[in-house]
């Protein structure tokens, strides 16, 4: 009897030991709403490409951290010359690409030269515009010379579009991405899922997961049962409207963070009567941001008063510049000679923030006498008619690129906004690397846009993530499009 008990105790103990030793899961299935068109972040703008590959498969000289900070990546350290024009990067050694090729300064030169080449189809070619030449000093040192000092250069090199690729695999990365990251590409079942596995020869801190599958779930209604059944354990970008079905379930964590997506009511600044400052200001007064956030984004998302994310270190709070004031809006319209109101169109792309927000904005503008005709459009149509041909009055869109206030200074951009004072601030910004001065210039830029009421500033698009409560390390915010898995692990 005693022996029996001992055996039982031993069995229980060994079982407990075994379960705790093997308890931590090392596999993960992540749901993503859109399938990437291909997997080469240096050859396409789709956020979905980065949501699979950034920091996982591909790495750059620097990288962007979860709170938008610039971190060293393949470059271990760097020095900047006094004139701010020369960056000397010290690279990590012993780094290998997934196909076994050694990584060296030659690859950095190749990647940067390729991205800024004349025939480059890099979607963010402007990131490399300031580069004058890239020189290999030795296999572990590379020197980048700029045509002018550029304050944001290290940040720029952290974008997904600036990752380092190998000349051997650069042309096949679309189908079979080869990078230096902690995960290597294993399989892509088109329309269904993309699988990454842990890379054995990774140079950096080891990752916790052995296998990660990105499963494409386009329908928000299908995401909920997929989570509940346990088939998929994380949706880093979840539909805000479906959160109510999950949020009281202790098995899951609902994490609301921010993105770099300034959601705005874009205005065609050259088209009468929107060329009048009074009219644009009247629109700003007519907007009730709280009602828009409640209706279009399930109450999540921070209001903005200019083109800068509230989480950004250069942010200045200008949300009080145009409080919701219908009487004031009507007064301004009267001053502009439009006391009887006018008619205009509002073109809405497919995302729900635009379609839902558009209905609310149309009714808010109707209250001050502006009669909007809503025209729903597809993305392709939006890019063609609104963005390229500038054939629109008003539209709603989220500008998701980080730190992109400079778009207002671009010539021929779809806002049709032209203000030399603003352009000067942006030009100065590009040349300034002193932090205090940059902060001051960014503040000026934000204020000019608010004063000019260039567009109707609405809110910062929220990032709603839902995942298994036992999962740790996924990003709360989305400073750039990414699903960084380097710190993700299962706990008990």
């Amino acid at each position: 009897m005693k022996l029996w008990k001992t055996i039982l105790a031993a069995a229980v103990l060994s079982l407990a030991a075994a379960t705790s030793a093997f308890a931590a899961r090392t596999d993960l299935v992540i749901g993503i709403p859109l399938e990437p068109p291909h997997l080469d972040p240096t050859a396409g703008a789709a956020a979905a490409i980065r949501e699979v590959t950034y920091a996982n498969v591909f790495e750059g000289l620097t990288r962007i951290g979860p709170n938008s900070e610039v971190l060293p990546d393949l470059a271990e350290s760097w020095t900047i010359s006094d004139d701010g024009k020369t960056y000397t990067f010290k690279l990590h050694t012993g780094v290998k690409f997934h196909d076994g090729a050694d990584f060296s300064a030659e690859d950095v030169k190749f990647s940067l030269d390729r991205a800024r080449a004349k025939d480059s189809v890099n979607a963010q070619k402007q990131l490399f515009a300031a580069i004058d030449k890239v020189e290999v000093i030795d296999p572990a040192t590379v020197k980048v010379t700029l045509t002018h000092p550029q304050g944001s250069f290290l940040y720029n090199m952290g974008w997904g579009d600036a990752v380092i690729v190998s000349p051997k695999s650069a042309d096949t990365n679309k189908e079979k991405p080869i990078g230096t990251g902690p995960f290597k590409f294993q399989n892509w079942a088109k329309g269904s899922s993309i699988t990454l596995v842990k890379s054995d020869n990774y140079w950096g801190a080891p990752v916790f997961l052995d296998k990660v599958e990105f499963r494409i779930v386009p329908d928000a209604a299908a995401a909920v049962p997929a989570l509940l059944s346990g088939d998929i354990q994380a949706f880093p970008f979840f539909d805000p409207d479906s959160v109510s079905q999950i949020k009281d379930d202790p098995r899951f964590k609902v994490v609301v963070g921010s993105t770099e997506g300034e959601t705005i009511l874009s205005i065609n600044n050259k088209k009468p009567p929107f060329d009048k400052l009074l009219v644009r200001q009247a629109i700003s007064y007519a907007l009730d941001r709280k009602a828009i956030i409640d209706g279009a984004s399930a109450g999540l998302g921070l209001p903005i008063g200019s083109h800068m994310a509230p989480t950004n270190k250069y942010y200045v709070d200008l949300t009080g510049r145009y409080p919701h004031d219908v009487a004031k809006a009507k007064e301004l319209l009267k001053e502009a000679g439009l006391e009887n109101g006018f008619k205009a169109t509002l073109k809405l792309p497919p995302p729900s923030y635009a379609r839902l927000g558009g209905e609310i904005i149309a009714s808010e503008l109707r209250d001050v006498g502006i009669d909007l005709q809503i025209i729903p459009v597809e993305w392709a149509q939006w890019l063609d008619q609104v963005f390229t041909k500038k054939d629109y009055d008003l539209t709603i869109v989220s500008h998701t690129e980080p730190n992109d206030i400079d778009i207002y200074s671009r010539k021929d951009y779809y806002f049709n906004y032209d203000n030399p004072t603003f352009d000067k601030v942006i030009a100065d910004l590009d040349l300034t690397s002193d932090e205090a001065k940059r902060k001051e210039l960014y503040a000026q830029a934000q204020k000019i846009l608010a004063d000019d009421a260039v567009v109707g500033f609405l809110y910062e698009l929220p990032k709603v993530g839902v995942w298994d409560a036992k999962l740790q390390g996924l990003w709360e915010n989305a400073p750039i499009p990414a699903n960084d898995l380097t710190k993700v692990k299962w706990t008990d």
């Binding site: 291909h38 703008a45 079942a189 329908d219 209604a221 997929a226």
Partner: protein, 315 residues
């Protein structure tokens, strides 16, 4: 008979040529530039132009049509703009999901619909008929995405019998792959079965009122034999017509169900290709589907001849 077949084939070929022109023209008229879509909002106009050149989008319209149509003739369907792989490869992957799914759904719908139709027709106006047709009415009325979600909650979330969605691929084992097609097949089959059952019932009732049925009964054949052997066979023509239409629909028109179950089927591929302006994919797949529908219609015509011997000798 040969002349008839030849005539049908010529008409089919002409339809294909005409369809290719319409499909190509429609996709060209659609506003939207695939190059701009790929490069996004930050790319300059010059860069977009560069990519357009690389993709061959700047060639004259007629030339591009001829190039594409010529490729189709030699079974070369071109390369996808976005995926940059041959279209035929994409189609092959997707058809490996869509075809089995369509076949299972079709089989299920037939297996359910025919007995229900026969049952209802033989009890016309009685309680069983009313009940069955009421259920069929419900089956037609219930939106299939809702029905699909209910199936998912019951069988995947609650009972854990099947996955909530997705397709592991045939490489994962036949049973595993089939399991993930089961719920979508049921969700697709039931509304189809409801329609088919109603068609079968009314066709059968019409036949049952024919004189030859009375004759068959009068010569002493049991009711059961008359029903299954004589009446059903004669009622098959409208049923087959509907079946042919349903198969064409199931092959590519199942985008909603594919979305709910996130299956990588043909419908979703076309939908995605349209939103991404992957023109060549849309054009080539639509042409393949046109060809499939024409083929199915031909097959349905031939099967009429099998069920109705009178059609066999007709010119």
């Amino acid at each position: 008979m040969t002349a008839y077949v030849l005539k049908r084939l010529i008409i089919a070929a002409l339809t294909l040529v005409l369809a290719s022109m319409v499909v190509f023209a429609v996709m060209e008229i659609l506003p939207g530039d695939p190059a701009r879509l790929m490069l996004g909002m930050n790319a300059s106009a010059d860069q977009v132009e560069l990519l357009r050149n690389q993709m061959g989008l700047n060639a004259p319209l007629v030339l591009r049509y001829l190039h594409w149509a010529g490729g189709l003739l030699s079974l070369d369907f071109g390369r996808s703009y976005t995926y940059s792989v041959p279209v035929i490869e994409l189609v092959r992957e997707r058809i490996a999901v869509s075809l089995p799914l369509a076949l299972i759904a079709l089989a299920l719908s037939t297996v359910i619909a025919i007995p229900v139709g026969v049952f209802s027709a033989s009890r016309q106006g009685r309680a069983g008929d009313t009940l069955a047709m009421g259920a069929a009415q419900l089956g037609v009325a219930v939106p299939n995405f809702w029905f699909a979600l209910m199936l998912i909650y019951l069988f995947a979330v609650w009972l854990h019998l099947v996955p909530a969605g997705g397709f592991p691929g045939w490489g994962a084992g036949i049973w595993t792959a089939l399991k993930s097609l089961l719920l979508p097949a049921v969700a697709l089959a039931l509304p189809q079965a409801a329609i088919l059952a109603r068609v079968a019932r009314s066709a059968l009732i019409e036949v049952l009122n024919e004189d030859y049925i009375r004759t068959a009964r009068a010569k002493g054949l049991p009711y059961r034999a008359v029903l299954w052997r004589h009446a059903l066979r004669n009622a098959m023509i409208p049923v087959l017509t509907i079946l042919g239409l349903q198969f064409a629909f199931l092959l590519a028109g199942t985008i909603i169900i594919e979305n709910v179950f996130y299956l990588p089927g043909l419908g979703r591929l076309i939908f995605q290709a349209i939103t991404q302006r992957d023109l060549i994919v849309v054009e080539s797949i639509v042409m393949l589907l046109v060809a499939a529908v024409i083929l199915i219609n031909l097959l349905v015509d031939f099967s009429y001849a099998i069920v109705d011997p009178r059609l066999r000798g007709r010119q």
